[in-house]
C-alpha cells in the first residue's frame, strides 16, 4: 500500500527539521493549538494527552467498578453478616432490621449491572483501546497526531459525558439500572418490572448512546490515521502488531457499535412511545399491556451483534500490546508475524458471525445453533495459532523479566485457561447445562476480563516512560503482578466448579435451593481473594501516581533497545511528536537480535538484506 508523504508539509509548519533534539522543551509555547493550561491539559488535541485522559478516567472507573464487585461479593460470601457499616455509604440500600443491616436485592442487582457495564464499556473499551490507540498509533506509524485532533478530543469528551451520566444514575432514588449489563427487555423496557428500570434505565441508555458516539469518533480517527498518515516506508506489513490490533479493533467497533445504538433506540421507543418492538402479551403488576407482536429475542440479536464483537474489541488490543511487549523483552521477533496478523483478521471476521452463541437457550430455533456452533469453535483455531506463536516467541529468547513482560506471560496463561473453557460454552449441547451459570462467569472474567487487564497493565508499565518520561517502580510492579496473577486465579478458578455443579449466576443468595446452597466456604474464599486482589490494584494505582512525579527518570531515549518509532521521539515530547523531520522507515518492526543486535525500523537495509515485512516481494 502506498504511504502518503506528508513530511514536506509538516516540515514547513515546524521549520526546524535539522535540530532533532534541540529545544523541544519550549516547543509547547510555539504551538498555536495548545498554549494555555486548558488547551494543554483539558481540551487538548494532542493524542498523547488524550491517551492519558482515557487512561486516568479508565482507572477511576475501574476502581468504582471493582468496589461495586466487592460489595456484591460480600453479599455472596457472607450473606448473614451485618452490613450496617456500609450504611453511611449506601444509605437506604442497606435495610436495617433489629440492628442488622442487609444489602437490598434491588441494589445487589444494580451493583452487578453497573459492574458489568462499567468494566466492559468504560474500562476495557475506552480505558484500554482508547488509551493505547491514542498513545501509540501516531507514535508508532510516524505521524504528528491523529488525522483529526479535534474529533479525537471530542471522542474523549463524549466518553466523559457518558461517564458523567452513568455516574449521576448511581444517585437516583430508584437506583441505577439493575437488569443486567445486557439490558434484556421486557425487564429493561418496563419501569414497573423493577426499580432500576425506571429513570436508571433511561440514563443507562442515554449514557451508552453518547459512549458509542465516542467510540465511533475515536474509531474513524484511528482507521484514517493508520491508513493515511504512515510515514515514508511504513507499509502495512511493516506495522507493529499493536497498530494492526488497534486498526482491527477500530473497524470492529465502527461496524458493530451502531447496532447497539439501534437496539437502544428501539428500546427507548418501547419505553416512551408505546411501540412494541420487543414487547408482546405481557401481564405485569396486575395489568395486561396492549403491546402485541414484538419479540424480546429481536433485542438479543441486536445486542449480541454488538456484544460479541465487543469482547474482541476488548481483547484484540491486548493481543497487540502483549505481542509487542513480549517481542521487545524476549529480544526476539514475534514468531510468525503474518500468522499473527492473519489470525487477528480471522478472529475479527468470525466475530461477526457467532453472536447467537449467547442465545442458544433463549428460545431461538434450535436449528440455527448448528451454524453458530461451527463458527464459534472455528475461532479456537486462530486463537490456538496465537498462543503457540507467543510460546514460540519465548523459545530461544533472552527474556528480560520486568513487570511488563511478566504481565505479558501472565496474559498468555489466562488466555489459555479462559479460551479453553470457551470450547465448552461454544458447544451448544454443553451450553444447555452451563449457560448462565458460574462457569460462564469464570470463563469470561478470565479470558476477557483479567486477560485484557493484563494486556493493559503490560502496556502501562511498558509505555509509562513514553507517557511521563519516568519509570514505574519495578518492585511494586512485580508485587502487583504476582499478587494479581495468583489472586485472579484464586477468585475465578473455583467458579468453574460452581458452574459445573449448576449454580446460576446473578443470584442474590443461594440458600433457597438445596442444589446451590452448599458452597459457602468456596464463596467466602472467593470474596476474601477478591478483597486482597483489590488491595493489590491499589498498589498499582499508588505506584502509578507516585511515579508520574517521583519515578525513576528516563535518561536514555530508547530504554528497552526497541525497534519501533515511538522511541525515536524525544522524552516528554510535545505536540507534534518529533521536533524535526518525521523519521522514515526501512524495515519491519521485529528485527530483534538479528545478527546479534536489535535493528531499529529507521535503519536502512544493508546490501542484500531482506526485509521480513516484505519478504514475498
Amino acid at each position: 500500500m502506498a504511504s502518503i508523504d506528508i513530511i514536506r508539509e509538516e516540515d514547513l509548519q515546524h521549520g526546524h527539521d535539522d535540530h532533532h533534539d534541540d529545544h523541544h522543551d519550549d516547543h509547547h509555547g510555539g504551538d498555536k493549538y495548545q498554549s494555555g493550561f486548558i488547551s494543554t491539559y483539558i481540551f487538548s488535541t494532542d493524542h498523547k494527552t488524550i491517551a492519558k485522559q482515557f487512561l486516568i478516567t479508565g482507572m477511576f472507573w475501574a476502581i468504582i467498578g471493582a468496589l461495586m464487585s466487592l460489595v456484591f461479593r460480600l453479599q455472596l460470601g457472607f450473606p448473614e453478616e451485618n452490613m450496617l457499616w456500609l450504611k453511611p455509604l449506601l444509605g437506604k440500600w442497606i435495610t436495617v432490621a433489629d440492628g442488622v443491616g442487609t444489602l437490598s436485592p434491588d441494589f445487589y442487582y444494580a451493583l452487578v449491572t453497573m459492574h458489568g457495564t462499567i468494566l466492559v464499556f468504560f474500562v476495557l473499551t475506552a480505558g484500554l483501546s482508547g488509551t493505547f490507540s491514542n498513545l501509540l498509533i501516531p507514535l508508532q506509524i510516524g505521524a504528528r497526531d491523529m488525522a483529526s485532533g479535534f474529533l479525537n478530543m471530542l471522542s474523549y469528551w463524549f466518553f466523559f459525558l457518558a461517564g458523567a451520566i452513568m455516574f449521576a444514575s448511581l444517585f437516583l432514588s430508584t437506583g441505577p439500572f439493575a437488569g443486567g449489563w445486557t439490558a434484556y427487555p421486557p425487564l429493561s423496557a418496563l419501569p414497573q418490572a423493577m426499580d432500576g428500570s425506571g429513570a436508571g434505565m433511561t440514563l443507562w441508555g442515554v449514557s451508552l448512546v453518547f459512549f458509542v458516539v465516542s467510540v465511533l469518533l475515536g474509531g474513524m480517527n484511528y482507521i484514517t490515521t493508520v491508513l493515511n498518515l504512515r510515514t515514508k516506508g511504513m507499509t502495512m506489513w511493516r506495522l507493529p502488531l499493536t497498530i494492526w490490533a488497534f486498526l482491527v479493533t477500530a473497524i470492529l467497533g465502527l461496524l458493530s457499535f451502531p447496532v447497539l445504538v439501534s437496539a437502544i433506540f428501539l428500546l427507548i421507543f418501547d419505553r416512551s412511545l408505546g411501540t412494541s418492538f420487543f414487547l408482546s402479551e405481557i401481564f405485569i403488576q396486575g395489568q395486561a399491556l396492549e403491546n402485541v407482536g414484538g419479540s424480546p429475542i429481536l433485542y438479543q440479536h441486536l445486542f449480541w451483534f454488538l456484544g460479541h464483537p465487543e469482547v474482541y474489541i476488548i481483547i484484540v488490543p491486548a493481543f497487540g500490546i502483549v505481542s509487542e511487549v513480549m517481542s521487545v523483552h524476549a529480544r526476539k521477533p514475534i514468531f510468525g508475524y503474518k500468522a499473527m496478523v492473519l489470525s487477528i483478521l480471522a478472529i475479527a471476521i468470525l466475530a461477526f458471525i457467532v453472536w447467537a452463541h449467547h442465545m442458544f437457550m433463549s428460545g431461538v430455533n434450535p436449528f440455527i445453533a448448528n451454524i453458530f456452533v461451527l463458527f464459534t469453535l472455528i475461532i479456537a483455531v486462530p486463537s490456538a495459532v496465537k498462543v503457540f506463536n507467543w510460546i514460540a516467541t519465548l523459545w530461544g529468547g533472552n527474556i528480560r523479566f520486568n513487570t511488563a513482560m511478566l504481565f505479558s506471560i501472565g496474559f498468555v496463561s489466562l488466555f489459555i485457561s479462559g479460551g479453553l473453557t470457551g470450547i465448552f460454552l461454544g458447544n451448544s449441547a454443553i451450553d444447555i447445562q452451563l449457560h448462565d451459570t458460574y462457569f460462564v462467569v469464570a470463563h469470561f472474567h478470565i479470558v476477557m476480563g483479567i486477560a485484557a487487564f493484563f494486556g493493559m497493565f503490560a502496556g502501562v508499565y511498558h509505555w509509562f516512560p513514553r507517557m511521563f518520561g519516568r519509570f514505574m517502580n519495578e518492585t511494586l510492579g512485580k508485587i502487583h503482578f504476582w499478587g494479581t496473577m495468583i489472586g485472579a486465579y484464586a477468585i475465578f478458578w473455583p467458579m468453574h466448579y460452581l458452574g459445573m455443579a449448576g449454580v446460576p449466576r446473578r443470584y442474590y443468595q443461594f440458600g433457597n435451593f438445596d442444589a446451590f446452597a452448599h458452597f459457602t466456604a468456596m464463596n467466602q474464599f472467593i470474596t476474601v481473594a477478591a478483597i486482597i486482589v483489590f488491595a493489590l490494584q491499589m498498589v498499582m494505582v499508588i505506584n502509578f501516581f507516585y511515579s508520574i512525579f517521583k519515578g525513576k527518570e528516563q535518561k536514555e531515549l530508547n530504554p528497552y533497545d526497541a525497534n519501533t518509532l515511538e522511541w525515536t521521539a524525544p522524552i516528554n515530547t510535545g505536540h507534534g511528536n518529533w521536533p524535526g523531520a518525521i523519521p522514515h522507515v526501512h524495515r519491519w518492526a521485529y528485527d530483534y537480535s538479528k545478527g546479534g543486535r536489535n535493528i531499529p525500523q529507521t535503519e536502512p537495509l544493508a546490501d542484500g538484506e531482506q526485509d521480513m515485512g516484505n519478504d514475498h516481494h
Partner: protein, 387 residues
C-alpha cells in the same frame, strides 16, 4: 475516629510500600543496574516455575476435591436421557482441553525460565516457520471438527420437538410452566392429557394463567404446587412467561430454556431416575450423609433430597427465589397422585363469577386457536356480557 484511623493506616501502608520500592531502586543503583536485572530475571523466572507447578497442582487437587460436582460423575450424574449425552460431551471436551491446558502451561513457563536473560546468553533470530505453524493450525482444526460434530449430534437429538405421530397424553406428557415475578406456576393437563387454551388478557387474581373456561380442555387442568412426573415417559414442557424473561432450569436433568413473553418455547426430555433412586445414589457420599441442621425428623441430607426447578434468566429482584420441587415417581405412584388431584376449575372457578363456561363439560363454542387472539378477545367480551 474509626474512619480517621483507617485513613491514617492506609496512608501509612502506602508510604511503606513506596519506601520498599525506593530502597530496591537505590540498591540497584549501588549494585549496578545490570547485575540487579540479572538477579531479578533469575528470581522471577524461577518463581514462574514455582507458580506453574503450584497452579497445576492446585488445579488437580481442587478438581479432585470437587469431583462430586463434576458433570456425569457420581452424585452429579444426569437424571434424564439426554443429560447423559451432555455429560459425556462435557467430559470428552474436558479431556481434550485438559491435555492442551497442561502442555501449554508447562511450555509457557518452562521456556520463560529456560530462556531468561543472563550474562553471556543471547537470543536466536527465528522469525517464523511455516511448516510448524501449519501443524499447530491443522491439529486444533481437526480436533475442533470432532468436537463440533459430536456436540451438534447431541444438540440436535436433544432439542427436537416430540416426533411426528406421537400422541399427547399417550406417548408423552405435556405440562406447562409459566414464569412470572417471582414464581413458577405449573399446569398439568389432567385426565384428558391436554392443556386448555389461554389468553393473556384473561389473567386476573383468580385466573393467574388466563385460561379460557369455555375450552373444556381447561376444565380438568391442574395447578400443582410440585412438578410430578412419571419416570421413563417423555415430557414436553411448554414454557411461557407472563411478564419478563425467565428461564426454566432443571439442573439435575440438564434442562434449560428461556421463557419468553409472547413466544411459547418448549423442552422435551425423558426423566430416567426417580427421586427415590436418586436419593439412594446420594446415600453413598459422605457429604450427603451429613445431618440436616434443625430437621425435625433428624434426617440426613440424602433423605431429604429433591429435584429442583430454578430460574436462570435475570427477571428482577426476586430472581434467586423462584423455586419449585420436582418429583419423579414410578408410573403407579403417578397414577395415584393424579387421581388425588382436583382441577383448578373445580376448586377455584366453578360456580363463581369468573366461570365463563355455562354448560360444564359441553363444548358450547368452537374454540379459536391460540393464534387467533383477537377473535378470542371479542368472544371473551361477548361471553362476559352474557353473564
Amino acid at each position: 475516629m474509626g474512619t480517621f484511623f483507617i485513613i491514617a493506616s492506609l496512608i501509612l501502608i502506602a508510604v511503606i510500600l513506596l519506601q520498599i520500592g525506593k530502597i530496591t531502586e537505590l540498591a540497584g543503583a549501588l549494585r549496578g543496574e545490570e547485575d540487579m536485572q540479572m538477579r531479578s530475571n533469575t528470581f522471577h523466572a524461577q518463581f514462574g516455575m514455582v507458580f506453574m507447578i503450584g497452579f497445576l497442582v492446585f488445579v488437580i487437587v481442587s478438581f479432585m476435591y470437587y469431583k462430586n460436582s463434576m458433570l456425569g460423575y457420581g452424585p452429579h450424574t444426569a437424571a434424564s436421557e439426554h443429560g447423559v449425552w451432555i455429560d459425556n460431551t462435557f467430559n470428552v471436551t474436558m479431556a481434550v482441553t485438559g491435555i492442551v491446558f497442561f502442555i501449554t502451561h508447562i511450555l509457557l513457563f518452562w521456556y520463560a525460565y529456560k530462556y531468561r536473560e543472563r550474562t553471556g546468553h543471547a537470543a536466536t533470530f527465528y522469525p517464523h516457520n511455516n511448516k510448524l505453524e501449519m501443524i499447530w493450525m491443522g491439529v486444533p482444526a481437526i480436533v475442533m471438527t470432532f468436537l463440533v460434530i459430536g456436540g451438534l449430534s447431541v444438540w440436535n437429538r436433544t432439542m427436537g420437538d416430540v416426533e411426528e405421530g406421537m400422541v399427547v397424553g399417550e406417548d408423552y406428557i405435556e405440562v406447562e410452566a409459566t414464569g412470572l415475578q417471582f414464581q413458577w406456576i405449573l399446569r398439568h393437563p389432567g385426565n384428558d392429557g391436554k392443556l386448555g387454551s389461554r389468553y393473556y388478557k384473561n389473567i386476573d387474581g383468580v385466573n393467574p394463567l388466563g385460561q379460557i373456561w369455555s375450552d373444556e380442555k381447561n376444565l380438568d387442568d391442574i395447578h400443582p404446587s410440585e412438578l410430578v412426573l412419571p419416570v421413563g415417559v417423555p415430557v414436553r414442557v411448554r414454557i411461557i412467561a407472563n411478564d419478563v424473561l425467565h428461564n426454566f432450569y432443571l439442573p439435575h436433568f440438564r434442562v434449560k430454556m428461556d421463557a419468553v413473553p409472547g413466544l411459547p418455547t418448549y423442552f422435551v426430555f425423558t426423566p430416567t431416575t426417580t427421586t427415590d433412586e436418586y436419593r439412594q445414589r446420594l446415600r453413598d457420599y459422605p457429604e450427603w450423609q451429613q445431618p440436616i441442621p434443625d430437621d425435625e425428623q433428624g434426617r440426613q441430607r440424602w433423605e431429604a433430597f429433591e429435584y429442583e426447578l430454578a430460574c436462570a434468566e435475570l427477571c428482577g429482584k426476586g430472581h434467586f427465589s423462584m423455586k419449585r420441587i420436582v418429583k419423579i415417581v414410578t408410573p403407579e405412584e403417578y397414577s395415584e397422585w393424579l387421581a388425588e388431584q382436583k382441577s383448578y376449575y373445580s376448586t377455584n372457578i366453578k360456580g363463581t363469577e369468573a366461570d365463563t363456561n355455562e354448560k360444564e363439560g359441553v363444548l358450547s363454542l368452537e374454540m379459536p386457536t391460540e393464534i387467533e387472539k383477537e377473535e378470542v378477545e371479542v368472544k371473551d367480551k361477548e361471553l362476559s356480557k352474557s353473564i
